[in-house]
Amino acid sequence: MTLRKRLLGWLADAALILYFVFALFPVAWMLILSLKPANQLFSTYFSFSPTLDGYRTVLGDSEGIPFVRFFVNSLVVSLGAVLLSLLVGLPAAYASARWRFKGSENLMFTLLSFRFAPELTVIIPLFVLYEKLGLFDTYVGMIWVLQLVTLPLIVWIMRSYFADLTPELEQAALLDGYSRKQAFFKVALPLVRPGIAAVSLLAFIFAWNNFVFPLILTSNEAQTVTVGALSFLGGDRPKYNLTAAAALVSVVPPLLLALLIQRYLVRGLSFGAVKS
């Protein structure tokens, strides 16, 4: 290898490392900030005596912000939205992958187009509606509206998983005396199980990370961590260590899940638009 080539290689690595410092530093900094004692927040920067007080306060209700409940709320509504979306989304994805029928492409595009709709267009009428129906600040109300995030994702990705299965598999099952329903449940569904797992986790992450819906459609009972983390910034004295601790606690579930499904992420993120 020539010297020139080796130098260029080092330069490329250096550029890469520079980008990753930019990408990782904020998270590392939050960790540092969250471990600082309240009286050292504004003094020396990199030397401090670490303490878990920040986490204790955030997880212990002591600032009047029930963060643990927000965390549980996030779990419940994200999980609920994913389960409901799977229930209605899997049959829809299967149907649109197996049969070309009148209007199928338009229906699918309409479903996808919700991905691009500004959230506030539906939230404001929903806000008015929810107040009337008593759905404001409830689990049911949040799960219902989080469909906007999870359902198009599940339908579009599962559609491409079903399309990758050859129809012959189910036809063989039909010849063996299976009913259509049995062919779906016993042949098609088990084969796409890895896809279902990946898309469910991704949908969960998207639902968990949503901010606008809980901001406007909840106030206290059903509020989630994304809105809850912001409340530590309020008040007359900004509590940076608490904000940092809350932010970090709220990113743990999505980060853990992301590590699990890394291999499937591309298809999920691009809604199957890039075939891998």
């Binding site: 990753f20 049959p91 259509r180 992450i205 968990w208 638009a273 890039v274």
Partner: protein
């Protein structure tokens, strides 16, 4: 007959749920024809008065301009940076293989949380960014307190969150390109820049375009990053359309007027999506033929 109806039957539940969303959308559209607000619970029909007010207000055009600046700026930086990161990772050095595994990290953090993190880092007097810049004499920058600074800062947060998205799609594209044209170019002794411009970029473009479409569409309707970082200020300098709509409809409780803003934004996003997706289809077909 039973067979012909089956796909519809399977799709109905999904459509019903979707209608649960379409109904409020229709309701919102209907509301915009009235002067419905907290101070007027018994509203009169005003037809298109709300839209006329929207389009004749300077604040709307300012918001539209800021939104476009934000979306174009964020999408452009993310595309260039994301493709660059993908190219560097595609070289597959030992460093790259290790770093690739953590590429998705910022993408998995809720944008609003990312904005909170950056807000803390960008505090003028106690934030770490100015602390690190102090040795080079830039320790006093008012990041989110000046109009230009606020817009650039919010674009920076967007770039931080979403560059990995572009990089991941571009990397997937790079890995799926055929190898023979590149081998031929290497045999011919083609320079890196020539290969990049004549081979890599044209073949990679369909993949990158998917990423650009998603990023541009999403940035047009940005809300959470701006809400947590600047809330539209200082002045109106980061007052993107969704933030304005939020202030009008929720904060000032002028429901109809606020919804009119989002309907206009929705129409723009929908049109842009249709044009871009059609363009994408054309490019993907062309790329498929070329292979």
């Amino acid at each position: 007959m039973r067979l012909a109806l089956r796909p519809y039957f399977l799709i109905v539940p999904a459509l019903l749920l979707t209608c649960g969303i379409l109904y409020p959308f229709g309701l919102g559209l209907y509301y915009t024809l009235f002067d419905f607000s907290a101070s007027k619970p018994q509203p009169d029909m005003v037809r298109f008065e709300n839209y006329r007010t929207v389009f004749t207000q300077d604040s709307f055009w300012n918001s539209a301009w800021v939104t476009v600046l934000y979306a174009v700026g964020a999408a452009a930086v993310e595309t260039v940076l994301g493709v660059a990161v993908a190219l560097l990772l595609h070289r597959s050095s030992r460093v790259g293989r290790v770093l690739e595994k953590i590429l998705i990290l910022p993408l998995m953090i809720a944008p609003v949380i990312a904005a909170i993190i950056w807000k803390l880092m960008l505090q003028p007097s106690v934030g770490v960014v100015n602390h690190l810049l102090r040795p080079v004499g830039l320790g006093g920058v008012q990041w989110t307190d000046t109009p230009t600074g606020a817009l650039l800062s919010s674009i920076a947060v967007d770039v931080w969150v979403y560059t990995p998205f572009v990089a991941i799609l571009a990397l997937a594209g790079l890995r799926s390109l055929p190898t023979s044209p590149f081998e031929a170019a290497a045999v011919d002794g083609a320079r890196w820049w020539y290969t990049f411009r004549r081979l890599t970029l044209p073949m990679l473009w369909p993949y990158v375009l998917v990423a650009v479409i998603f990023r541009f569409m999403d940035s047009l309707k940005v809300f959470d990053i701006i809400y947590a970082l600047t809330e539209g200020g200082p002045g109106d300098s980061t007052m993107v359309l969704q933030i304005r709509a939020y202030l009008e409809a929720i904060r000032f409780q002028r429901y109809s007027f606020g919804i009119s803003y989002t309907i206009v934004l929705w129409a723009v996003v929908y049109l842009a999506a249709m044009i871009l997706v059609r363009h994408l289809g054309k490019i993907q077909r062309k790329a498929a033929e070329a292979k």
